[in-house]
Amino acid sequence: MRNTLTALAILSVAIFAFGCKGGPGAGGQESLNKAAGPPAYGDALIEGTIGEPTILIPMLSGDAASQDVAGLIFNGLVKYDTDLSIIGDLAESWDISKDGLTITFHLRKGVRWTDGKEFTAEDVKFGFDTITDKKTLTAYSEDFLQVKKAEVLDRYTFRVTYGKPYAPALASWGNLVVLPKHLLEGKDLTKGEFGRDPVGMGPYKLATWVPGQELTLESNHDYFAGRPYIDRFIYRIIPDTATMFLELQTGGVDMMGLNPIQYTKQTESEYFKNNFQKFRYPQFVYTYLGFNLKHPFFQDRRVRQAIAYAIDKKEIIDVVLFGLGSSATGPYVPHTWPYNPDVKKYPYDPARAKALLREAGWKDTDGDGILDKDGRPFRFTILTNMGNTLRMNTATIIQWRLAKVGIKVDIKVLEWSTFVNEFIDKRRFEAVILGWQISPDPDQYDIWYSKKTKEKEFNFVSYSNPEVDALLEKGRRTYNIEERKKAYFRIQEVLAEDLPYVFLYVPDATPIVNARFKGIRPSPIGITYNLPKWYVPGELQRHHLVP
């Protein structure tokens, strides 16, 4: 047995010694990052992905991989600009009636589907009818069911009428609802081949799809916003991230998302600095500690504030995320228009936490190190879901910090479905660590509105504040961005004061791209929004099509 171990040790040392050399071409080679030429057509961009797309029809797909690829094939009437304001895409402009009930879209003329047919208002109406059809297996129909009337005024004008003004509706006219009527009319969308061989009008079109291996997209020379520089976009499926990282080093992958260790440690060598560019921006996600506000411990606002003071958010970010994140102060992403930077903050201050707890009547009367009140010790359980190490580590750090101010915390980790169905939905929890994905539209009616507390609804902490209710209502009923901003700024101030959640952190997305790609402009909405404008200068191009 000892022989085995020695042999193994030798084998691994030998291979790791190779592994530390730093990859091929380290040093010596001139840095790709410095060289930059004029935009040129050609080359291919290979993105690595762990999951395979399932269907390339935006309204039917539920997974991120499908939506990534479908996003390059289909455009919408509107899209988000880099500052999250809404700008025209297939719609040149739109008018909103004074009462906010009708939106009239004026469509771009001369846009063609990749089969040559012109795109018209009929295609939008067809997509709308499909997504609102009960037989369509879609999870996104909700926004469109609010529409009372949808009509085609002429070839390039499309009008929708709502029952009530509904601001999030404008953004819903993205790429979910545009489908080629001339190809799909009278056909069953889910059964047909269209989902695996789609015809769109976006910057790229699908060329080949080899299941389990890769999807190859070719640039659409007829794209209405101009032919994309990069000729081919290849989406390579590599389920294991360690394998994908090796492919990155050998040129088998040009772009992938890094995990914190890869970002902070494994890509710091000269080789990576010369051959790759790394990016970092906040994801549209935040993690929070939510309290069950029906629980007697947490009904007192001072207690919630005390807990916020007792938690060191910076420490959590440094330890759990390797520093790749920012502290959250409310339910919006920093640097986006709804985000209010001037709300009450809770820096780490255990003395203040203790004082607030004392004020609220919590004292350690029996000297066991745990605070108590009316004979009840301050002890509660934080629930979180299995499989998310970030959340479990966060819980552990919070447990340790709260012990220092005299609060005993237990941690319970549960399998996701059980967690949601048995504990969240039935309100059987004291505190939870969870995350929300933030939609680019600031409407968060479903999360904070006081009546959204029924089973399966999302205000599961039972937060109730009439002022917030009114502001949420106001924010979704006007299209005026300044007025919306005012409402959401105020909501954040109130939430920071009330603290139904302790907002913990917003993790960063950390993609890496081969340095030969130029024209990447990082923005709050990421890097891929201007993919058609990326290019590789002529002399740096790597992949050439064999005629």
Partner: protein, 332 residues
Amino acid sequence: MLTYLFKRLLEIVPTLLGITLISFFIIHLAPGKPTDIFTELNPRITPEARERLEKLYHLDKPVIVQYGLWIKKLARFDFGESFSSDHRPVIEKIWNSKKPLIERRLFVTFMINFLSMIVILLVALPLGIFSATHQNSLWDKVATTTVFIGFAVPSFWLALLLMILFGVELNWLPISQLKSMGYASLPFWSKVWDLTKHLMLPIFVSAFTGLAFDSRIMRSSMLEVIRQDFVTVARAKGLPERLVIYRHAFRNALLPIITLMGLSVGGLIGGSVIFENIFGIPGMGQLFYWSVMTRDYPTVMGILTIGAFLTLFGNLMADIGYMLADPRIRAK
């Protein structure tokens, strides 16, 4: 003998049914539903929409009714439609008859397992014989240690180390997947060479980690055989040692290997799940992993049924092989 075979064939049917019943209940016991990907904690979906989705997938019915619906389809050799959002027939996902052979998942998995089985046999049998004939020598110990290292080392770890060595450092072999990017435009022999290069690491890993069983069994069965009387007789006749071992002893020692091969079919399919994911090989194991993760019940059941069938079939083949090789069994 024919009656025996016929009986064995008939036995497969209830066994297969039993396997599907148990599998069906077990995968439904696991928490989570195929619709979770759309609905769990997604503020944009209403409870009505969730119910509608669940109804369309028959998830609102009791599990036993769902099993009934499934088996009814299976009786017509129909594995149903996948629950993932592409809704393709399961059989098309596993064996897409419109694509070339190399793009069909079942074929890919089968090919890799078949090749690695051949490599295992080619290496394990001589190794086992050598160890037996040189029992307790230094080389016997080296061989034993090597196959045990193979048995003990986690395949994903070994795979990653080899990828770093041959893929990143030496740049000799591709790291993952089955084909290079320009594969479609290559001439025939370049295609074969391209495939071979891609298959080297996966087959090496799967063969190296699977050597132990066959070589150890070969060794012990050989040791047993060479102590028997007929071997002594052969030696006493003055036959050269080479003929004694390879003509007389080897054939007899081979019998347990036949059984082992039949039994290992199931294990090989299970192992595919792991290394197809590490190497990014588009086979059945990879599909199985994704289907389990998204609770795509029809696809999971389809693959399990095929796997179970292949295992039972492997056992049957082993029985037949045994009969052909051993006259004593044939006589019964």
